[in-house]
Structures are given as structure tokens and as C-alpha cells.
């Protein structure tokens, strides 16, 4: 068996995106049972500076095509190049990070190859497949939430190859420690033409986001139950005392309590901190999709029947505006 993982570079840090490393490791664990190959494919102007990391996360080989015209996302060119590599390599499985760029290119390729693509999978595994009483052999089972997260659907691609899927950043874990593994780099042989360059990038402005969920062990997130923008500032005060980052549910963002960059859940970030404090968050499925893998969850909610308590380890039934100020006060006294 063979799996191709699309490798993306973070244009700001020039390093591999986390999701590429996560998918390299996911592909490695899936391919181990079958002695299969894990091949990365990279397209851009220069390779990621930390490309070696890909091998430590499970890649056997990195096939790359670099060209100054490909500094930015050129959908048509990227599609043509990756499609050529897929046709040469004939993989069984192709995985993409469900990033903005991954979600731009992957459907183009699936359309062109006339094969299936399952978006935003939360679980992937290989198993024997029987479909309509026919044995389809080893197949990729793609589990994804659908209908606003109210159901989990298991999707298969019985007859078409490759089987394609995308996964959001933060969903698949990285290895506990680096693999002792070396891989090879290989330049792809592509008949490139400038006619594939259809978009002209006039300017690029890095986003000034101060939100960084990855670097913090503790996340404090607020929801509709926080009640006001002023109360939401209390969460920032608590976060400062616990060296935490502040997150939010979609409701809190929609009510204007905080900025969209803080949104956690199906349409926001996926996080898995050591400690997650959910303040005034009822725990709708859309929010849980972004945080239920957290190691410890503490819920503060005035509704004792809020679903958030069902996935929490510790809880307080109370109003955020009463409980959080007391927590701040007690933490200050301890210092």
C-alpha cells in the first residue's frame, strides 16, 4: 500500500505546518501494518526549512517541485503538479490538511481524478470492506461529523482510487517522541508551463493574531453564559494568572464578546490542552468538536443539565460572573 501526504509550509515561519507533521505520522501508523510507503508531496518556491522533521514523523520519501512562480497558492498550477505526481505514484490513499489552501486544492484534484474526497475527517483507519456484498479489499474508513456535528458518518470509497481525505489541524496526534527514521528527497519531473499561473498576488499581509493555542497548557474559554464583554475580560484576568490562552464558543463570538480568532470548535480551532476551563459554555456538539480531546476539562455553568458537564472532569454549578471573580481573588491571594 501507498499513502501520499500533501505537505504544506507555513508562509510566515517557513516551517512545515503542524497538520503536515500530524498527517505524516497518521499515515505512518496506518501503513505500518502493510509495510506500505508514506510519501510526502510538496509544491512551492522553497522547501520548508525543517523538512527533515517530516521523516522523524514517519515520511519515507518527500517528492517536491519548486519554482519561483509557486511562492503563493496558484490553484491551477498546484493541482496540475500534484495530479501528475499522483498519476506517477499511483497511491491508494491521499491525505490533505484541511487548511484553507488544502481545502482549495484537494477538491480540484479529486474532481480531476474523478475520485472521492471526504472533508474534515476526525478518524481514519484501514479495514476490509464489503460493499453491496462485494469484497472491496483493504479500504480507508473515513469518519467525519456531519449536519453541524449532530451525527458521525463513516464514509468509504469502494470503487475509486485513490481514496482521498482531509483532516483539520490538531485532530491527529504527533508521536510521543521523534521516530528514528531517515527518508529521501526526490525532485519531481514536471512539464511546467507559466500558463498555469492564473492569479496575480498584489500584496500579502501577515495576520496580526495574538491568539496562540498551541503554546499554552491551559485554555480558558467563554460562551454565551459569560453574559457581557465586560465579564469576558474577567476570563483574560484569570488567564493571566494561570498563564493560559483565552478561547471562546461561537456564541460568544457572535454576541461580540470577543474576536473570531479565539473561536474553538467545528468552525474554529481544534485544541487539546492539558487543562480546558469552559466558562458559561453549554457544550453544543459544534463546540465539543474542538475541545473534547483536552486532557482535563473543568466546567462552570449555571445550568446543571448543560451537556458540557457530561464530558467534564470537574464542575461548578454557578454563574460565571460570580465564580470567576472569586477564582481570580483566591489566585491573587496565593501569590
Amino acid at each position: 500500500m501507498k499513502t501520499i501526504v500533501y505537505i504544506e509550509k507555513n508562509p510566515i515561519t517557513k516551517n512545515c505546518r503542524f497538520v503536515s507533521l500530524e498527517l505524516a505520522y497518521k499515515a505512518y501508523t496506518m501503513m505500518q501494518e502493510f509495510n506500505g510507503d508514506v510519501i510526502g508531496v510538496f509544491v512551492g518556491d522553497h522547501l520548508p526549512e525543517d523538512a527533515d522533521k517530516l521523516f522523524q514523523n514517519g515520511l519515507d520519501k518527500l517528492i517536491y517541485y519548486t519554482n519561483d512562480n509557486l511562492k503563493n497558492l496558484q490553484s491551477i498550477a498546484y493541482k496540475n503538479i500534484i495530479e501528475q505526481i499522483i498519476k506517477q505514484e499511483e497511491p491508494d490513499i491521499v491525505l490533505f490538511g484541511a487548511t484553507h489552501n488544502g481545502r482549495d486544492i484537494a477538491p480540484l484534484i479529486a474532481s480531476s481524478l474523478k475520485t472521492g474526497l471526504t472533508a474534515d475527517c476526525t478518524q481514519l483507519f484501514i479495514n476490509d470492506l464489503e460493499y453491496k456484498k462485494e469484497d472491496k479489499g483493504k479500504s480507508l474508513y473515513q469518519v467525519r461529523p456531519a449536519f453541524g456535528g449532530n451525527i458521525l458518518a463513516t464514509i468509504v470509497t469502494p470503487d475509486n482510487r485513490p481514496m482521498m481525505a482531509s483532516v483539520r489541524e490538531g485532530v491527529m496526534p504527533l508521536p510521543e517522541k521523534k521516530l528514528d527514521k531517515k527518508g529521501i528527497m526526490e525532485e519531481a519531473n514536471i512539464d511546467f508551463t507559466e500558463e498555469w499561473i492564473k492569479s496575480e498576488f498584489l500584496s500579502i499581509v501577515p495576520k496580526k493574531s495574538t491568539v496562540n493555542f498551541d503554546s499554552k497548557d491551559v485554555i480558558i474559554a467563554g460562551g454565551a453564559g459569560v453574559g457581557s464583554k465586560e465579564n469576558f475580560d474577567l476570563l483574560h484576568k484569570l488567564a493571566a494568572l494561570l498563564d493560559a490562552e483565552v478561547g471562546a464558543s461561537r456564541a460568544a463570538v457572535d454576541f461580540g464578546y470577543t474576536e473570531k480568532a479565539r473561536q474553538i470548535g467545528q468552525t474554529g480551532s481544534v485544541v487539546r490542552p492539558k487543562l480546558y476551563i469552559a466558562a458559561g459554555i453549554s457544550g453544543q456538539i459544534q463546540h465539543r468538536a474542538g475541545m473534547e480531546e483536552s486532557m482535563k476539562i473543568i466546567a462552570i455553568n449555571n445550568d446543571p443539565n448543560a451537556p458540557i458537564f457530561n464530558i467534564s472532569h470537574k464542575g461548578i454549578v454557578g454563574d460565571v460572573k460570580d465564580v470567576v471573580p472569586k477564582m481570580i481573588q483566591m489566585l491573587r491571594e496565593e501569590e
Binding site: 491551477i76 484553507h100 477538491p107 480540484l108 458518518a153 461548578i316
Partner: protein
């Protein structure tokens, strides 16, 4: 700017204004829209045994980001003049969002509907929609919402772009400029904002940040409240409705000349193997009182774990 350049610009704009007014080079925009179940209100009865969804049992709404797409088309129309065509694929009740599109200012709307399209995944859907775009013909631009709230895949837009052979820009968060020759938009590149210029033809997928959808116009509502597909208009009124432009065309597999093998469930490479409703599993939950002593205990716990974690 030198005076001769200025004169050229002035002359060009006069020429283009004349061409617009005379209808000679009007841009043609197709907006892809979807009627979606309001995913906040789903019950078990709405699921069929084969794992697909019984849309008839759910409240149906205009997919929010498709409204942003339509608004962008209308903004382009008011800037350089354009014909705005709205296409939706779905059951006959999806006419509701087509009528709403007319109220908002769309020029023409089409229902793409056929039992043979049922159960389509994104590949089969994009095949049918791309053929609808081709049937409309001479299209300069396709605009779609970034994603629909029922599937959240964001795949149909790009797959239509591939099939009609257009350039594409996804995650468009702002329309900066549009002329007869090109469009300039801002794209949400996740870690950066990208300003991109593309010539026509191009397909854009638009996010909710792009604009604020407008409200239906009273005049348009009065003009179009009787718009319907022919099947829903009594025979004796049909001729009159047609004369008044109130018959919404229906595209089906036959009149689009489609390859049935590429449509619907049969034309979908992905199959639903299993559906599981999400149920919450209660874990070991330790509750604390919301008074001083309870909060103190919780803080001690947090500090203990937090210190151990570090």
C-alpha cells in the same frame, strides 16, 4: 498621470459605459446557492435508514455564505453592470431560495432538479452544477458560498471550477475592485491576508466576512411573489405567467443532456457506510459547590494539576 493618459482613461470609460448601456459586454455571473436544513434543529426522525437525510423533515434556509456570494454578485452588478443568474440544485421546495434571490435583485434563477440527482456527493453534485453553468453559457464568473452548513465540505465550488476550467479563488473575504477585465479580491489565507487579481473567467468562494447581505426589495417582491416552476402553476395561468417572466426554468438530467452514470448516488465515489448519532458519555465528574470553600478546593486542584503538568 499625463494628460494623454488621462484622456485615454476617460475615453475608455466612455466606451465601456456605452457598451454596458447598450448591453454589448455585460458580465454574466452565476451564483451557486443551496437550500440547507437548519442544522441547529435536527432530530433523529430526520435521518433515513440508509444514512442519508430526510430533508423534508427539517426547516430549510438559504445557506448563509451563499447569501454573501449573491451579495457580492449584486455588488459587482451595481459597479460595472452584470447579469446575475442564481442556480440551485435540490428538490422543488428549493424554489423558495430562488424567489428570495429574485427579491434581492437576481436577474434570472434556475432550479436544477431531478430524482436522478438524489444522494449525490460533492463530485456528482459538481458535475451537475458545472453542466448547468455550461447550459447557461458565456459565463464570466461563478460565485459560491465557501461552504454549506449541512455538509461543511467546501468542495463543490472548487470542483465546479475544475469542471468548467475556470481559475479559482477560495475564502474570498472582500471585493476590492472589479472592471471589465479583471477582479481584485482579498483572500483569507489563514495566517495572512492575500490581495489577488484574476482575469475572467474565474470562480470565487466567499466567506461570511465578505459583506452584509441586503434585504429583499419591496418592488422585487411585488414583481416576483408569483414566480414558480411550471409544474406548480395552474395550466390556465401558465401562458400569462410566462409572458410576465414568472416561470422559473427547471434543468433536469434530460434537458441538460447529462450522463446518468455520473449523477446522484450512482455517480458518487464516496458512500455512507455507517451513521452514528452523537451521544454523550458521562465520565467521572467531580462537582464543587459554588461557594468560597468549593471554589477554593477547585483552585487547589487546578494549581496542583497545573504544577504537575509543568
Amino acid at each position: 498621470m499625463t494628460s494623454s493618459e488621462y484622456e485615454t482613461d476617460f475615453y475608455d470609460s466612455l466606451v465601456s459605459m456605452w457598451l454596458i448601456l447598450s448591453g454589448e459586454i455585460m458580465k454574466k455571473i452565476v451564483v451557486l446557492a443551496k437550500q440547507v436544513p437548519d442544522t441547529a434543529n435536527i432530530t433523529g426522525q430526520a435521518m433515513k435508514e440508509d444514512g442519508t437525510v430526510n430533508r423534508g423533515k427539517l426547516p430549510a434556509i438559504f445557506n448563509p455564505e451563499d447569501l454573501n456570494g449573491l451579495q457580492m454578485a449584486l455588488d459587482i452588478k451595481s459597479k460595472i453592470g452584470a447579469e446575475v443568474h442564481v442556480v440551485t440544485m435540490g428538490p422543488p421546495r428549493a424554489v423558495e431560495i430562488l424567489k428570495h434571490s429574485l427579491y434581492l435583485g437576481a436577474d434570472k434563477v434556475y432550479l436544477v432538479s431531478d430524482m436522478k440527482f438524489a444522494g449525490a456527493d460533492t463530485l456528482a453534485t459538481s458535475y451537475v452544477l458545472s453542466e448547468a453553468v455550461k447550459k447557461i453559457g458565456n459565463v464570466d464568473m461563478v460565485i459560491a458560498g465557501r461552504q454549506a452548513i449541512d455538509g461543511d465540505t467546501a468542495q463543490v465550488g472548487p470542483q465546479v471550477a475544475d469542471k468548467v476550467g475556470f481559475n479559482q479563488i477560495t475564502y474570498v473575504s472582500k471585493l476590492n475592485d472589479v472592471t471589465e477585465d479583471y477582479v481584485i479580491v482579498e483572500r483569507d489565507g489563514e495566517v495572512q491576508t492575500e490581495e489577488i487579481k484574476s482575469q475572467f473567467p474565474v470562480l470565487l468562494t466567499v466567506t461570511e466576512e465578505a459583506n452584509t447581505p441586503g434585504y429583499p426589495s419591496c418592488v422585487q417582491m411585488r414583481n416576483y411573489f408569483k414566480a414558480e416552476i411550471a409544474a406548480n402553476i395552474p395550466a390556465e395561468e401558465l401562458e400569462n405567467a410566462e409572458a410576465n417572466g414568472l416561470v422559473i426554468p427547471v434543468f433536469n438530467a434530460e434537458n441538460m443532456g447529462l450522463n446518468i452514470e455520473q449523477c446522484g448516488l450512482g455517480g458518487s465515489p464516496t458512500k455512507v457506510k455507517k451513521i452514528k448519532s452523537i451521544t454523550l458519555v458521562g465520565g467521572d465528574l467531580e462537582m464543587f459547590e459554588a461557594d468560597d470553600s468549593g471554589i477554593k478546593l477547585l483552585i487547589n486542584d487546578i494549581m496542583k494539576e497545573y504544577t504537575e503538568a509543568n
